[in-house]
């Protein structure tokens, strides 16, 4: 019973946080561009509007199941990320998983959806999927390397254990392992589909991207999972580098701070092409990661 309530609570928290954060993002973006942006609730309204569309076009069963898989993937991901530390609540099933599993779960859903995109028969959609996968290939390398540094630092893959080790500001991953945080920051932005790495599904002259063929309720599902997934990733980074959170307010605060940081980065850079993005990841963040490995792993072992 506890598990069920807890799970529902986690899903609700991540959904609410999701549309509020994105609403805020739209506001902020507008203000930077000297516009009155939409209301902070706009994302919620949009989402609901999609869900209550009277007609939805499909292209066969696989097309229908794709969004279901990605949604189930988002739920699963959320449930395997511990939201709070030292608490019985908002834990989901995180004690049955680990960091590597979460990284992979983040990809399960999008791959499921890719099947639906392929099933639609729209080549622009498939092109978007390929771009997404290509970008994933670029970002995952430094991202995982940064996380591996954290895993090595704490000698575990358990998010709980990593969180538990960061009691107090001085023990935050951000403080003890800042270079790892720098390594993952840009890939993290890309994994949130944030600018300047948002070429997948970005508005371009020919509408392309994984979502090109979706409409109505199915598009609503895609939007929902996107917001929840973003929150799951934010919380994960909070857990790993910012000591986690002991209650929901601290969680929102820390996640928001992190969100603000990524948003600021996103807002000032122009968009990169896919191959530019990949090349960038393999040069800058990965180079930084290699440096980090040399500094924090090789040198201590040789000097010892």
């Amino acid at each position: 019973m506890h598990a069920v309530v807890d799970s529902l609570a986690m899903i609700a928290v991540s959904y609410v946080m999701g549309f509020l954060f994105y609403g805020f993002y739209r506001q902020l973006n507008a203000r930077v561009q000297r516009r009155w942006g939409p209301s902070i609730w706009q994302n919620f309204f949009d989402n609901m509007k999609f869900f209550f569309k009277s007609e939805t076009l499909t292209h066969g069963p696989m097309f229908f199941f794709g969004p279901m898989i990605i949604m189930a993937g988002a739920f699963t991901t959320v449930l395997f990320v511990p939201f709070l530390k030292d608490s019985d609540w908002l834990q989901g099933f995180s004690q049955y998983g680990n960091l590597i599993l979460i990284i992979y779960l983040l990809v399960v859903g999008p791959l499921g959806n890719a099947l639906a995109v392929g099933s639609s028969g729209n080549p622009f959609g498939v092109m978007g999927v390929t771009r997404g996968l290509t970008r994933l290939m670029g970002l995952e390398v430094p991202f995982f390397l940064g996380l591996a540094l954290v895993m090595l630092q704490h000698e575990t893959t358990s998010v709980h254990a990593i969180m538990a080790a960061q009691d107090g500001l001085a023990n935050w991953g951000l403080v003890t392992n800042p270079i790892a945080f720098c390594v993952i920051l840009l890939p993290f932005i890309a994994s949130q589909n944030g600018s300047p790495f948002d070429v997948v599904g970005a508005p371009v002259e020919v509408y392309a991207g994984p979502r090109v063929e979706f409409g109505g309720r199915l598009l609503g599902v895609l939007m929902t999972q996107n917001m929840m997934m973003s929150i799951a990733k934010l919380v994960l980074v909070v857990d790993l580098f910012m000591g986690g959170a002991t209650n929901i307010l601290v969680l929102i605060g820390k996640a928001f701070a992190l969100f603000l940081l990524t948003t600021v980065v996103s807002m000032v850079f122009p968009r990169l092409k896919t191959e530019q993005a990949v090349d960038f990841f393999w040069k800058v963040p990965l180079g930084l990661g290699v440096l980090a490995v040399i500094l924090t792993v090789w040198l201590p072992s040789w000097s010892a």
């Binding site: 869900f51 209550f52 009277s54 007609e55 939805t56 076009l57 499909t58 292209h59 066969g60 279901m68 949604m71 189930a72 739920f75 449930l79 099933f93 049955y96 680990n98 960091l99 590597i100 599993l101 992979y104 990809v107 399960v108 791959l111 890719a114 099947l115 392929g118 099933s119 639609s120 028969g121 080549p123 622009f124 498939v126 390929t130 996968l133 290509t134 994933l136 290939m137 670029g138 995952e140 390398v141 430094p142 390397l145 591996a148 895993m151 090595l152 893959t157 509408y207 090109v212 063929e213 109505g216 309720r217 896919t274 191959e275 090349d279 393999w282 290699v290 792993v297 090789w298 072992s301």
Partner: protein
């Protein structure tokens, strides 16, 4: 007569399984003076025998479909016998005999395909024989050191001897496993071999190289710990091997992405997967070996599944290129699920066991503190998503691109039964990641005198670095899926099926049947624009080997001019040689 033959064949294909259950003693067979074959079953060999026992009948079943090719059946039986001999070998001579029987019978099977060309068959046999002869040379060095042929730890070897042994054996097994730059025979032969035999090549025969590599570790108990010092928290020699493996994976993965043919793609993917295994063996810790064995298990199941599915597609459509297929999901749904489950396993996605295997390897790399290797491996395994997607998209999704693809029917049942069984096995191992650890892998580790991984329950994979629970994962995902689908359907509003496949949001235009809508072979082409990937794809070793072959032929021509058809020349040469050697002797000895 005919059905007797079939029954017999099926029975033989079950022989590895029978052997596994019934084997309880050692056997020995004299060969020549001082050489005695002795057969015994070690836990390590047992593991690979399990793989063989799983795969052999599943491939035998579709092979029996009429009209069956009797020579192929005979050769397959020989191949199975050879592999069992290889696995049961307690001494190097029987190991070598098994290895060779496997080599030539598989070569002859390769010839049964009408598509095999000369370059393929020659590269297959020459690389494999080179591997075999290196192995034999290693065996002879081993013999000269230890005085017998028994496979056992060589403790009394000196350093140069050990080095030559490692190089000879290592090269032999790396050729078989197909690591860079010794892989060139693999894509061609997996592609052109008879479709079902490709499954066996990739699923079982490539594992023999892996078996050999692990066996090599047992020859030198300290090979991976103290042989040439340590690097960080792992063996320095292994670090090199691990990089060989991971570079193999990266290059092969990018090559796989750029392929336009299903079987070639699978071939490169096979090289990449074996590259991971090589990496794991290089790490050499108990975790890593567990990972290597797990990967071997998963790769066997997955590749056999995928190759059989692909064989079914080729059988029904006659097409193997991505551009000529498409939209088979509606015509071959079971094959679609076969490929889908296969690529999920191949990509190492949870909840299928591919993830458990990769998890073990990743953790072992963290444990060894080889993070750069880990990053490189992540690169390969993420890039693999692209070809996995291509493999399911191009044949099954999108638009049918040839008349055959439009009219295909589901593969016949002998192709489907193995697929269903393999899907079941994959799901089973995915639900219970500890099952494979407990039943298959831990006995091997104990046999190798390493710490077993252990599992508190079959549902759990647990390591010192944490683990996960396959049943919970599957339950959560399944429940979420059911919940989401249910809620979605409860919502108001109706679903409308698109009127035609061309009813698309297509840049404001209305596509017709003539519009090229299938992304097929083009997928991943733009990857070339990434500088590193473009550079990798431009490289190749084929030129080197073709050059070598050309040089050999030139040498043959040059030496062939000695063998002229004129008796006077023969006599002249004889007399001149006679006179010269007499003169030399005279000068040296003073005649």
């Amino acid at each position: 007569m005919s059905w007797m033959l079939r029954l017999l064949f099926l029975a033989v294909s079950l022989s590895p399984a029978a052997l596994l259950m019934a084997w309880d003693a050692d056997l020995s067979w004299p060969l020549i003076e001082g050489v005695r074959l002795s057969l015994t079953l070690t836990p390590l060999a047992g593991f690979f025998l399990v793989l063989l026992a799983l795969v052999a009948p599943l491939i035998a079943l579709p092979m029996l479909r009429r009209p069956s090719d009797v020579p192929s059946l005979v050769l397959f039986v020989l191949l199975l016998i050879g592999m069992q001999l290889l696995l049961l070998a307690g001494d190097f001579v029987s190991f070598f005999i098994g290895w060779e029987v496997m080599t030539w019978s598989s070569y002859l099977l390769l010839l049964r395909s009408p598509r095999t060309d000369m370059v393929t068959s020659q590269s297959y046999i020459l690389f494999n024989l080179a591997s075999a002869f290196l192995l034999l040379a290693g065996i002879l060095v081993f013999y000269s050191v230890t005085g017998d042929f028994l496979i056992r730890a060589a403790t009394e070897v000196s350093r140069p001897q050990a080095l030559s042994l490692v190089v000879l054996f290592g090269l032999a097994f790396l050729i078989k496993a197909g690591t860079l730059p010794l892989h060139i025979w693999i894509p061609r032969s997996y592609d052109q071999a008879p479709d079902l035999f490709s499954a066996f090549l990739s699923g079982s025969i490539s594992k023999m190289g892996v078996y050999g590599l692990i066996l090599l570790l047992t020859l030198f108990p300290d090979a991976l710990t103290g042989f040439a010092g340590r690097f960080l928290n792992g063996p320095a020699v292994g670090y090199l091997l691990a990089w060989v493996g991971v570079i193999t994976s990266i290059v092969a993965t990018f090559k796989a992405i750029s392929q336009e043919d299903m079987k070639r793609l699978l071939a490169y993917s096979s090289i990449a997967q074996v590259g991971y295994i090589t990496t794991a063996i290089g790490v050499g810790s108990s975790l890593a070996l567990a990972g290597a064995l797990y990967l071997a298990l998963v790769h066997t199941l997955v590749k056999v599944l995928l190759f059989i599915s692909v064989a079914g597609i080729v059988l029904q459509t006659g097409q193997r290129r991505f551009n000529d297929l498409g939209r088979l999901i509606e015509r071959m749904p079971i094959s679609f699920f076969g490929v889908l489950i296969g690529i999920i396993g191949l990509a190492g996605m949870p909840p299928l066991p591919g993830f458990a295997a990769k998890y073990l390897v990743f953790v072992s790399l963290v444990d060894a503190r080889w993070l750069l290797l880990l990053a490189a491996m992540i690169l390969a395994s993420t890039a693999a998503f692209i070809y996995c997607y291509k493999l399911v998209y191009a044949p099954f999704l999108g638009h049918a691109n040839s008349p055959e693809a439009r009219e295909a029917r589901e593969a016949p049942w002998p192709y489907l039964v193995p697929q269903v069984i393999l899907m079941g096995l994959l799901v089973l191992f995915g639900l219970f990641p500890g099952l494979a650890i407990d039943v298959l892998i831990d006995p091997v580790l104990v046999g190798l005198q390493m710490a077993p991984i252990g599992s508190e329950s079959w549902a759990k994979l647990s390591t010192a670095y944490g683990g996960y629970d396959g049943v919970v994962l599957m339950l959560v995902f399944g429940t979420a899926f059911a919940l989401v689908t249910g809620l979605f359907l409860l919502l108001r509003g109706r679903m409308r099926r698109a009127g035609s496949p061309h009813d698309l949001s297509f840049a404001g235009e209305v596509p017709t049947a003539e519009t090229p809508l299938h992304y097929g072979a083009g997928m991943g082409r733009e990857l070339r624009r990434i500088p590193l990937v473009g550079w990798i794809l431009r490289q190749g070793t084929q030129g080197f080997y073709l050059g070598l072959a050309g040089q050999m032929r030139a040498a043959a021509a040059l030496l062939g001019t000695l063998y002229v058809g004129r008796p006077q020349t023969w006599i002249l040469i004889a007399v001149v040689v006679f006179a010269l050697s007499l003169a030399v002797q005279a000068m040296m000895g003073g005649l």
